[in-house]
């Protein structure tokens, strides 16, 4: 039990300002870490690149699902109006596709919007009920004036002592191990 309590789940390093955080992120990226994250009170320009993040695939997901929605919307109306319940409306053909455009558009947007929201949740691994950074008492500062980098123990390159001294060598103000108290 005592052994488990002392398990290290990650490392949290604090930096002085956004510029240092950005440069530190570049060094962490170049050192080959994959499962790390940067925390700051506001977005920092160029951070995606500094962290070596790829472009989010969300746009392609939304595009694909939007088109799927539009296709299904058309199919639904065709089935309703031209197959299942035929009604003559102002003398037009059963399959009057111009009339379907607003609903097709609407279903397309609905699919795209839902994909955008839930795809974002999925890509951000949400909902996430707990994260090692919450073991730190210091972490609350990132909503105010803290600029921090966390590395998770699941990272293949992670080693509690080596990573700790790595952060100290790149100029972290303070480094702490993330473990239950």
């Amino acid at each position: 039990m005592a052994k488990k309590e002392n398990k290290v789940y990650g490392i949290l390093a604090e930096f002085d300002n956004p510029a240092e955080l950005l440069h530190a992120a570049e060094k962490v990226r170049d050192a080959g870490y994959k499962r790390f994250d940067c925390h700051s009170p506001f977005p920092i320009h160029g951070m995606d690149e500094a962290m070596g993040l790829k472009r989010s695939p969300l746009g392609w997901m939304v595009g694909f699902m939007g088109m799927t929605g539009a296709g299904l919307g058309t199919l639904m109306q065709w089935w309703m109006n031209a197959v299942d319940y035929k009604l003559v409306i102002s003398g037009k053909p059963f399959f009057s596709y111009p009339a379907y455009v607003p609903v097709t558009f609407g279903v397309g947007v609905l699919f795209a919007a839902l994909t955008a929201v839930f795809g974002m949740f999925h890509l951000n691994r949400l909902p996430m009920l707990h994260h090692p950074v919450y073991y730190s008492d210091n972490f609350g500062k990132v909503t105010d004036d803290g600029f921090m980098i966390s590395v998770e123990a699941t990272d293949p390159k992670f080693d509690a002592q080596a990573t700790k001294s790595f952060f100290e060598s790149i100029g972290a103000k303070s480094v702490e191990l993330l473990q239950p108290e």
Binding site: H45, D48, G59, V101
Partner: protein
């Protein structure tokens, strides 16, 4: 100033301005010859070409004003391009003259005898009469000329005098009043010059429809100039891929806007199915006109809509250039489809005058653009937002 050397480079590397002028004169001469061959065809072809090139200048006027009003940063490096396009507006006064001579051939409502025996046209005569038409056209042309001149001069003054509160106020004030005047004049110009070709027909959304196409054409033209500067190595690091990307986004957005308005116009008329409204679309699905209509649906909407969606298309110069040229071509098809069915009613008949009038006015338009663009610094050097515009990046 570092941009002085750029200006010189622009001069040296040339911009085919002279070639455009020569082609323009040849085009105008050929069109004048065509006038004696096929008078009526000449007027309809001429009106299409006149409005095509005019719409690029008008769209650029809107681009300039809306960027001033929104205090936009990204577009500052592109401002001189849109200003040089809108500088064509005063020339529209001269190019309007042939239309005055063609009133009888172009506009059925000028025929006083026919109007007398036409209940609908008699009721419209209070608005659709020659005198009022001339007054209105003069108002549009004067408003556009004044707006273009005032905005252009104030912008150039910023280069020599430096930025000042007073100048900023003048530019923004002119744009604020100008954008309202622009909306009204463009709407009524579209009604008068294009919609009244078929005097029985009416559509209240028509002005917005013409505006959508005009602004789209302006964005494509600005993009083409930006890309041509890039290919000559001019303004390297000033107008960058980031600016091309944003222009691509605007192209995509206004492709959708035009399609939305065009479909809205069609949709309500198709749904209500009232003969006096559907007749306009009936003329456009008759014979070979149906092919042109379908070409617009696929070429003006579906193809650019799908192709402009991915990010890499907007960031690759060649792809963006192809899209800009294609959409400009489609804009011409759109105007052709609006004007020419009033002349060749039962199917499309391409005439060489359609080409020569485009070449004639277009040559002068392109020549005038490069002349104006070269006359000043290629970017507004004293704009306080300039460095932010150069450094701008997309996420």
């Amino acid at each position: 100033m570092e941009f002085d050397s750029l200006n010189k480079k622009l001069e040296e590397k040339g911009s085919n301005g002279k070639l455009a002028l020569i082609l323009g004169i040849i085009g105008l001469a050929a069109s004048a010859f065509g006038y004696f061959q096929a008078e009526e065809q000449f007027y309809f072809s001429y009106l299409t070409a006149f409005f095509f090139w005019g719409s690029i200048a008008l769209g650029s006027l809107f681009f300039t004003m809306v960027k001033h009003l929104t205090n936009a940063t990204w577009s500052v490096v592109l401002r001189r391009i849109s200003e040089a396009f809108m500088a064509f507006l005063p020339l529209m006064v001269i190019f309007f003259i042939p239309i005055i001579f063609g009133m009888k051939q172009l506009y059925h409502w000028t025929d006083v005898e026919a109007v007398k025996h036409d209940a609908l046209l008699t009721k419209k005569a209070g608005y659709l009469n020659t005198t009022f038409f001339y007054i209105r056209s003069a108002v549009y042309l004067i408003v556009w000329t004044v707006l273009a001149r005032v905005l252009y001069k104030a912008s150039v003054r910023q280069d020599t005098e430096g930025h000042s509160e007073a100048l900023d106020k003048k530019i923004k004030g002119t744009s604020a009043a100008g954008i309202i005047l622009f909306a009204l004049t463009l709407t009524y110009a579209a009604f008068d010059w294009l919609m009244s070709l078929d005097p029985h027909w009416f559509s209240t959304i028509y002005g917005v429809y013409i505006f959508g196409g005009a602004f789209l054409a302006a964005i494509c033209s600005i993009t083409l100039v930006a890309l041509s500067l890039e290919s000559k190595g001019i303004l390297e690091g000033v107008i960058t891929t980031e600016h091309h990307h944003d222009l691509g986004k605007m192209m995509f957005a206004f492709t959708v806007f035009w399609s939305y308005i065009a479909f809205s116009q069609f949709f309500l008329i198709w749904y209500a199915n009232i003969p006096e409204e559907t007749i306009w679309f009936l003329h456009r699905v008759e014979g070979s006109w149906k092919t042109v209509t379908l070409l617009l649906v696929y070429g003006h909407f579906l193809v650019p809509f799908l192709l402009l969606m991915p990010r890499f298309v907007k960031r690759r110069s060649t792809a963006l250039k192809v899209m800009a040229i294609w959409i400009l071509f489609m804009h011409w098809v759109d105007l052709y489809w609006n004007v020419l069915p009033n002349f060749s009613k039962h199917g499309m008949h391409f005439h060489w005058l359609d080409l020569s009038t485009m070449l004639g006015i277009g040559g002068i338009f392109v020549w005038h653009f490069w002349k104006t663009y070269r006359a000043n610094s290629p970017v507004p050097v004293n704009d306080p937002k300039l460095s932010a515009s150069i450094e701008f990046t997309n996420f």
